[in-house]
Symmetry: C2
Subunit: 368 residues, 2 copies
């Protein structure tokens, strides 16, 4: 499947998009891709939200030469869970990011320079509000489904509570009602790693050297939370790398260290440090509960839901997700729940596409 | 109980102490404290090893005005688990550290300047080897017990396998045969945080500004691993601080963030960044197994053992400790095991002194 990246711009002054923090943003560009065909009554559209660092390139290849497909290619395509023979699948990445949608690296019309830290604080609701302009633009009154993993799953939840009349069903994967204190702590340490680097320069580095070291470190921290302890132990354990940099006078390097360094160093080539600050903050701030009351927070949700979790996820543990499931069921909502047994941890949502296929297919079947 | 810090220097050239990495170190100073009285046949001595960042000040007060006692005061004193009416308790901190014992901040005789990164890589065995000189100096042929939590527990294990004839029993607390891949990963991120800071300057900062930001960040990372998710959730959850620094244009700060910043910032006043590098590396390198074989690794151990773990410890999980217990029991060794039910995580070894008292008292009773 060959696909093309598209973009949509809206919110030109004076019709800027309003934000949760009271400010406005405009013009706003959203980068997105689509797979499959929108049917005549525009009722077969499925929207996919992106995770923290993912592009809108969820499926297919850009060219015959492309080595890797999009990040959820295992689920999207002909005959797959999100069957492109039946559904029109849209994947949009988020404002605040750095993959084509408006973010801190975009030009701030007032200064004519990149926003940097002048970019407004954004929330998951702001991301969804922007997507809602895109859905209007595509002429879709009601989405058949909104789905996504991790931060993408939070977007699905936000769609269901903010636009209950615009969505028929949601499939939030590997996410829960909010991040735990531990999750916020890890995000904060990632942000501090970036902000500690002199090259970060208060976010003004776009014409200078980027804070690559701090961003790599943030990614390394994040990466530990994406993998289960079991997987790390199985894959790396205490194995040593022989030919790596010798540290602190003669101590060999462990493979887990080498792996994290690699992950950190490749990440900085494709991601913007300021976006990392804004998007992790948006995740921290997301809370499905209202004043600590989850029952109150989900009252608006009347779409059918399929929650999918990964058994070894400790960033968004299944036990947290089950709290939403239980409360929605108490409210007589139609909720399915599947826990995938896996040792891939939070990252399972990207890897366990085979195990997710049947539950998703069953949930969507016959749905119009 | 009023106590005094003491120190002992040995290994003066040409009689330097040899190290695991083939180099030598000397002169070597060890900082230590003692509580109680050594009996006539010198058979009532208990040695306590320190954790990563702890001083030798394990019990009592330095003066009447002192606000806080030593870090294991709940266990050491008259009528306590390590009863100073019966036992002569010694707490020594470690080489590589920065609390009075020889470490990277000490003067390197060859250059006349602080060692910095010229300090040799040290291992837990090197720490124990240094303590063994102290025990000789105190005229003690055989220690009644060696104990300690976390890195202190690793020292107890190392004593039992390296000097089986010099120790009658060990009580390793909150530790296991080695750190997991995840534990190594967290240590490495802490080290990278320090080494990323320009003020670290390859370890040469003793006459300049210290890498306080990187060290604070390393401590913040460590601190997450010392506390259980449950405790973080219970104590902080998603509570916000009202009057704190406003970040990224209007987003409030979470209490967990403020707490970690506080912990990081107070830590840098009392700890040396280079010591953090060396001591975390020593912990990474410790392995009770020999070529992955734990049965082989513990063959030497013939002292009675009491292992104590904290149920919610995820840095040294009880499941890891139990592996040593099982193997020692297969080898017909005399091993007791107690898991303290607590939500304090790894830090439990500093907090759960009341719960640890009876098991320790029972284990030591009648022992000579």
């Amino acid at each position: 499947m060959l696909v093309t990246k598209q973009s949509f711009t809206f919110g030109n002054p004076p019709d800027e998009m309003s934000l949760d923090n009271g400010r406005t943003l405009g013009p706003v560009t959203l980068s997105y891709e689509t797979y499959g065909t929108l049917n005549v009554d525009r009722s077969n559209a499925i929207l996919i939200g992106t995770g923290l660092t993912a592009d809108s390139h969820a499926a297919g290849y850009y060219s015959e030469k492309d080595q890797y497909p999009g990040w959820w290619d295992g689920l999207i395509g002909e005959g797959k869970a999100f069957d492109t023979n039946k559904y029109f699948v849209i994947c949009s990445n988020v404002i605040g990011g750095c993959m084509g949608s408006t973010g801190p690296a975009s030009i701030y019309p007032i200064t004519g320079k990149p926003f940097g830290m002048l970019f407004p604080v954004i929330t998951i609701r702001d991301m969804v509000r922007a997507q809602h302009y895109l859905i209007d633009h595509l002429g879709i009154k009601k989405l058949l489904c909104v789905t996504g993993g991790s931060m993408g799953g939070l977007q699905a939840l936000e769609w269901a509570r903010t636009y209950p009349d615009r969505v028929r069903s949601i499939i939030p994967v590997s996410c829960s009602a909010h991040l735990t204190a531990q999750g916020i702590a890890f995000n904060e340490i990632g942000r501090q790693s970036i902000m500690a680097e002199p090259n970060w320069n208060n976010g003004n580095y776009y014409d200078k050297k980027s804070p690559t070291y701090g961003l790599a470190l943030a990614r390394m921290i994040g990466h530990i939370t994406y993998l289960s302890e079991e997987k790390l132990q199985h894959r790396f354990g205490r194995k040593m790398v022989d030919s790596e940099i010798i540290k602190a006078d003669g101590a060999d390097q462990f493979e887990i260290e080498s792996y994290l360094h690699y992950k950190g160093n490749t990440f900085v080539e494709r991601f913007d440090a300021n976006s990392y600050l804004y998007l992790t903050r948006a995740i921290d701030l997301f809370d499905l509960a209202i004043e600590g009351d989850l029952s109150k927070g989900v009252l608006n949700i009347n779409t059918d839901c399929l929650f999918i979790t990964m058994s070894s996820d400790w960033l968004f543990p299944p036990s947290e997700t089950i709290q939403i499931v239980d409360i929605l069921r108490q409210q007589q909502k139609n909720v399915d729940y599947v826990e995938i047994k896996t040792y891939h941890g939070h990252d399972g949502f990207l890897i366990e596409t085979a195990s997710m296929t049947e539950p998703i297919r069953k949930f969507l079947s016959g749905r119009k």
